[in-house]
């Protein structure tokens, strides 16, 4: 069912979410790239490696005598590693990411963790999501949600953050005012037929929302309003990408990053995208699973950045890959590894200072059989907030953290 442009504009200008925006169709009016001079056009894409990635077999300290000592069945042969320097080599599945590294588009921050590491998936993920150590704060707001609270509503009424996938947006994206949505693919955001509830019925009465955040009926109306605004935006976006010629591997993560690229190419206003790659909880028979996961990750990441480079949009994009914890140094009895502590974080994009950041964690000098974290993950966050998103308000991370040399000066 086609709607006239008039109908769409009428809808956009009438709905409260969009009321803050200029009444011209912003996608058409907004300049395609303002990134050089402003933080506004910049985009952060987060890839969450769920389950606890085995960082030791990802960025392998092959000359550390502890590697052979603790990894008997899981040790990757030195000759198969992609050597980065005389200390570490990348897992052989990471060839596309090694290419990014050589090409100056990948930084690897080593040994990232936090004090008093927690080995529960749930709790550790909540710590990374919220950047708060206090459990009472784990169900409140996420670090990106708080960061986006500092931003105005994106000009075209797009949400601040989009999760590509089947899950709900993670706590990391939850903000007090900022908005986040989940979508599996762009097709999921099209309405077969618009229901006849007029928009003013969906929108809460003026002044109602601010004071009644807990009113479920108001929440449901606002959620419906957001949903239909999103549907209208997507209808517009997908018309622009019909002649897409990029080459992504046939994996779920690549599909999701491709959708992100489509939204970016269509100048969608969302500054934060989020994708989750599950499966890293490798307690048993780890080698084949881990190789597949890393191959999917590296292939998808490279295709995504190349696609955006072709479109001359990659200058606006930074990708962050993290996992809730690394794994135990000592392998377990079932050809796998148990929950550990510190691990590597990847940052990718043409603006990063390519190479290794931070000391390589020792596999001999351990704490309780786990790696010692040399870098606090909140240093990574602080650097991204300050130097990539231009958000310096102290409330986002509470304390100040020493920034890392992640970006080219």
């Amino acid at each position: 069912m086609f709607r006239t442009r008039f109908h769409r504009r009428e809808f956009l200008t009438r709905s409260s979410l969009i009321a803050l925006a200029p009444s011209v169709p912003v996608f058409l009016a907004r300049a395609a790239s303002a990134a050089e001079t402003s933080y506004d056009g910049r985009i952060l894409v987060v890839i969450q490696l769920s389950g606890g990635n085995d960082g030791i077999n990802t960025v392998v300290p092959y000359t550390d005598e502890g590697y052979a000592k603790h990894r008997d069945k899981l040790r990757l042969p030195t000759e198969q590693l992609i050597k980065v320097n005389d200390q570490v080599g990348l897992h052989p599945s990471l060839r596309p990411m090694a290419d990014l590294l050589e090409d100056g588009r990948l930084a690897i921050v080593q040994g990232v963790g936090y004090p008093n590491p927690n080995r529960s998936h749930d709790v550790s993920m909540a710590i990374w999501h919220t950047a708060r150590m206090d459990r009472d704060e784990h169900k409140t707001f996420g670090w990106l949600g708080r960061a986006m609270d500092e931003r105005p509503v994106p000009a075209d009424g797009a949400p601040h953050a989009v999760l590509l996938g089947d899950d709900s947006p993670p706590v990391a994206l939850r903000g007090r005012r900022s908005t986040s949505v989940a979508l599996a693919n762009l097709q999921d955001l099209k309405l077969a037929s618009r229901p006849t509830l007029p928009d003013h019925r969906l929108a809460a009465a003026p002044g109602q929302d601010q004071n009644q955040d807990d009113d479920l009926a108001a929440f449901a109306r606002r959620a419906a309003l957001d949903a239909y605004a999103t549907a209208d935006l997507i209808e517009n976006v997908t018309q622009n990408v019909a002649n897409d010629r990029s080459a992504y591997p046939a994996t779920q993560l690549a599909e999701r990053l491709k959708s992100v690229a489509q939204l970016i190419k269509a100048n969608f206003g969302t500054p934060v995208y989020y994708a989750i790659q599950p499966g890293y909880d490798t307690h048993a028979v780890q080698l084949p699973t881990h190789a597949r996961l890393l191959r999917e990750l590296a292939g998808a990441l490279k295709a995504f950045l190349d696609d955006l480079r072709t479109a001359r949009l990659d200058d606006r994009v930074l990708v962050l890959c993290f996992s809730e914890f690394g794994r135990r140094v000592q392998e377990d009895a079932s050809l796998g590894t148990d929950h550990g502590t510190a691990g590597p974080v990847f940052l990718a994009g043409p603006r990063v200072a390519a190479g290794m950041v931070g000391p390589t964690p020792s596999l001999i000098d351990l704490e309780d059989g786990d790696l010692k974290a040399a870098i606090d993950f909140r240093q990574v966050y602080a650097t991204i907030l300050h130097q990539w998103l231009g958000i310096t308000s102290p409330g986002v991370l509470t304390n100040s953290f020493e920034l890392l040399p992640i970006f080219n000066a």
Partner: protein, 441 residues
């Protein structure tokens, strides 16, 4: 039990259409018009007791329901096809005489959230599902004893390799954090010791096996009690622990009570009642459903319907039974709305509540409503005849028909204001189903 006083209808809070619809949308999969009228006439006690006994549904229920369900389930397992197993469960939910039983089974599926993403075995998933259903109302001990040896659950938590040399702490942690005590009610040492007690529990050829050779039969100290505890002892210690009752009370309330309507005192009272009755889940469900709190004004329409509840509820209320909709398509729709049966997102299950109402889900629910009236949930397509349903229940005038659907779906005569009266009746029904109000129960 101050918080769970039984309800008596009053002039302020009468047993009316709203509350009958509330009961069925909250505790079942909505109800047909005849069932609503029947319960309105018979009063709340009869209505609630029918739900608890498992014979509340009359329309659409085939005489040989269990036999039919068995044939469909066997076929799914025979083909090893989990999509057909999802369809089988939708068949059960649509045609069962016992919707509360299916709702509780869903609750347990979320509680013991086991995903076929790792099991990859339709037979084991169905077997687990059968345990969840059989023990749905039982004292929790029966459930926990069986789940502690359920092959799918054990595979999900990597119990294949669980020997005394290498106890599986993951298994111990999840059993305590998710299935019984909840986080914060045990120490890291308890995890280690419970893991030792569970050594030897494993799965061989799709069956539970206790390998005595691999069991660590030394002394363990669990919750400050020392003994040569076995896996069965762990189950007993967990059942005795007060935190287990609290977690079960939380699950029941999450299922049947609206947002923010259960305070700590109410939760504790329900937990105490459970402890005094061997954690009898049927008692807890009956207590909540009979309570004044359940029927109180502030408990009406303040819980977000889960996707399955929304989909099946819409079809049941609208009597979309014959010809039956494609349950394969329903399973797909449900996954699209965020609830992929047999594939909970992680060990914590589905987040539920407001998290159900993502943009994508709302668009998906809206598209479902459109598909339902267009007949696109059937193979071949079979459009919904709104006028025929309304006329069958005595509403022949156009205005009466609109009122009828608002009463049937929302429990009130006035539709959400602003619904277009220029629409066809079918479109009107779709808009009602898609309305924000219809996402709540």
């Amino acid at each position: 039990m101050d918080s769970w006083e039984p309800w008596q209808p009053s002039a302020d809070e009468p047993w009316d259409l709203r509350r009958v619809v509330h009961l069925h949308r909250r505790a079942a999969f909505a109800a047909t018009w005849k069932e609503i009228r029947r319960d309105l006439d018979d009063g709340p006690h009869a209505a609630i007791d029918r739900l608890l006994k498992g014979d509340s549904r009359v329309e659409g229920v085939p005489d040989d329901f269990e036999k039919m369900a068995g044939v469909i389930g066997d076929a799914a397992v025979g083909l090893g096809n989990v999509n057909r197993l999802k369809a089988w469960w939708f068949y059960r939910m649509l045609f069962t005489p016992d919707p509360l039983g299916e709702r509780l089974t869903l609750m347990w599926h979320n509680h013991f959230a086991t995903s076929n993403v790792k099991i990859e075995d339709a037979a084991l998933m169905r077997r687990q599902n059968a345990v969840l259903r059989t023990c749905a109302r039982a004292p929790f001990g029966e459930m926990l004893r069986r789940m502690a040896k359920d092959p799918a659950l054990l595979l999900w938590l990597d119990a294949e390799v669980n020997r005394k040399e290498h106890p599986n702490e993951n298994l111990a942690r999840e059993i305590m954090e998710l299935f019984t005590l909840g986080v914060g009610n045990y120490t890291e040492n308890d995890i280690k010791e419970v893991a030792r007690a569970l050594t030897g529990h494993t799965v061989k050829d799709g069956e539970f096996r206790h390998a005595a050779r691999d069991h660590d039969d030394g002394e363990k100290t669990i919750f400050q009690q020392t003994g040569r505890w076995s896996g069965d002892d762990v189950v007993r210690l967990l059942l005795e622990h007060p935190a287990t009752a609290r977690r079960l009370a939380f699950r029941i309330c999450e299922q049947f009570m609206g947002e923010g309507n259960v305070d700590q005192a109410a939760l504790d009272e329900l937990a105490n009642g459970l402890r005094a009755r061997e954690l009898d889940i049927g008692w807890a469900a009956a207590t909540v459903l009979h309570s004044a709190a359940f029927f109180s004004e502030r408990n009406l329409r303040n819980r977000v319907l889960a996707p399955v509840e929304y989909l099946v509820g819409a079809l049941c209320a609208l009597e979309v039974f014959d010809p039956p909709p494609s349950t394969l398509l329903l399973a797909e729709r449900s996954a699209n709305l965020g609830q992929d049966l047999f594939y909970p997102p992680n060990v914590f299950g589905w987040p539920g509540g407001r998290a159900w109402l993502t943009s994508r889900a709302i668009i998906g629910r809206t598209n479902f409503a459109t598909a339902l009236v267009a007949g696109a949930l059937h193979h071949p397509s079979h459009p919904f005849d709104a006028a025929a349903l309304a006329e069958g229940h005595g509403a022949s005038e156009v205005a009466d028909q609109r009122t009828f659907f608002s009463q049937l779906l929302l429990g009130r005569a006035n539709p959400p204001d602003g619904l277009s009266h220029d629409d066809t009746l079918d479109r009107y029904v779709a808009s009602l189903l898609a309305s924000p109000e219809a996402q709540l129960a």
